[in-house]
Amino acid sequence: MRLLTHNMLSCNIKGVTNGFPLRLEVEKFVEKEVEFNSDFLKNMFVKIEWKALVNAARSMGYEELPEEADSSMLDSDEFLKKFHHALLELHLEEGALICPETGRRFPVNKGIPNMLLHEDEV
């Protein structure tokens, strides 16, 4: 699972009002090279919760992202490269996602998060 997906996911257990961002529990992560496309990054930037992305990248040991970011930084190639790497090339392979409100664990196996809810959570 890429951090792009992590940035979009939120916990949808019934009654949870603030299910974002899911905390990452990293056991194993991999890096896969992806084609660079600056248009896509610029398009996605407005939708990304920056703080969540920075924290998620940190939990995988990638510290290069600046604490704060705004749209003026999108002109710099260097920034875009880092953004690209964090967003699309870091994959969570094994571990878990944890709901910030209820502490419910969603296990991640072979890169696939198991988001199935129990009967009483729907």
């Binding site: 792009l4 949808n12 248009d39 398009n43 696939i112 199935l116």
Partner: protein
């Protein structure tokens, strides 16, 4: 026993390892899936600017439909309830991200982040049945469309390809989509053909406007049904119910046998499946000499 998989078992049980592999290795299904997703992408009507979008593939299965999205340069997130199907998708190294998730429980995404959603033969098949005691099709449809509406960006579209069992089912699905706030309707491709008829729900996020007008289906007017379709279906446009139970016509073989063209077609099919097939020569499908 019906041939509809949804009437046999719930998806996570029906698509076990064997069935998932069978599904993905069938060249017929791969071809149909590719065609359906191609058409669904067309109906999504994304702005034509070569910009990669973030799309959702609901009921992605082994990633057959996602492949079409990747080919068109989009990023996608696929979700499916069958672990076996997702395992096959992993083996095929699809480019999108996969989630094990039940669409009837709602989609867990942030608001307004997705640029479009497609779903190929999944929604009505797996949402309209009560497979467990806690399942209520109405609640599941409501949760699905509600969460889909929330996670789509304003003006984004969702194209859901469905095979409704009957009119009531189609109305049920559409009703819940409208109640969730979607505008749009049903596009029927090849409405006069029983074989290649395909229905797509084209839903637009937001209030009705010019941009939400439902596009026309293919083959509605004089356009021919499809390349290999016989004209028989077009002529009698009203199909009576009793017709359905008529045994299927056997393909007639003429005096001359099946002919070279047919043999070449079959050989090509076998090749696509990966079988060892002798090469085509001038002797292919030639008749043996009459010795008597």
């Amino acid at each position: 026993m019906s041939s509809r998989p949804e009437l046999q078992a719930p998806p996570e049980i029906f698509y076990n390892d064997a069935e998932a592999r069978k599904y993905t290795s069938s060249s017929r299904i791969t071809e149909i899936q590719a065609k359906l997703s191609e058409r669904a992408l067309e109906l999504l009507a994304l702005p034509n600017d070569d910009m990669p979008r973030l799309l959702l593939d609901i009921g992605c299965g082994s990633g057959l439909s996602g492949e079409t999205l990747s080919e068109n340069g989009h990023h996608w997130i696929g979700l499916d309830i069958s672990q076996s199907m997702l395992n096959v998708a992993l083996e095929r190294e699809v480019e999108g991200d996969l989630l094990l998730s039940d669409m009837g429980q709602g989609l867990g995404f942030r608001d307004g982040v997705i640029d479009g959603a497609i779903s190929i033969s999944a929604v009505q098949q797996w949402l309209c049945n009560a497979d467990k005691s806690c399942h209520n099709p109405r609640l599941r449809l409501k949760a699905f469309f509600g969460s889909l509406y929330r996670c789509l960006a304003r003006g984004a579209r969702a194209v859901l390809q469905v095979y409704p069992e009957n009119i009531a089912q189609r109305e049920l699905i559409l009703g819940f989509a409208m109640r969730a706030g979607f505008a749009g309707g049903v596009v029927v491709d090849f409405p006069h053909s029983s074989k290649s008829r395909k229905e797509y729900l084209v839903l637009t996020c937001g209030p009705p406007s010019i941009s939400t007008a439902v596009p026309n289906g293919k083959g509605e007017d004089e356009e021919s049904c499809s390349d290999d379709e016989s004209s028989g279906d077009e002529e009698n446009q009203t199909v009576s119910i009793s017709d359905r139970h008529r045994p299927r016509k056997k393909q007639k073989i003429g005096k001359k046998g099946r002919g070279r063209e047919w043999v070449l077609k079959k050989k090509e099919q076998m090749r696509r499946k990966g079988n060892v097939v002798p090469p085509d020569t001038k002797y292919t499908a030639r008749k043996r000499k009459d010795r008597f």
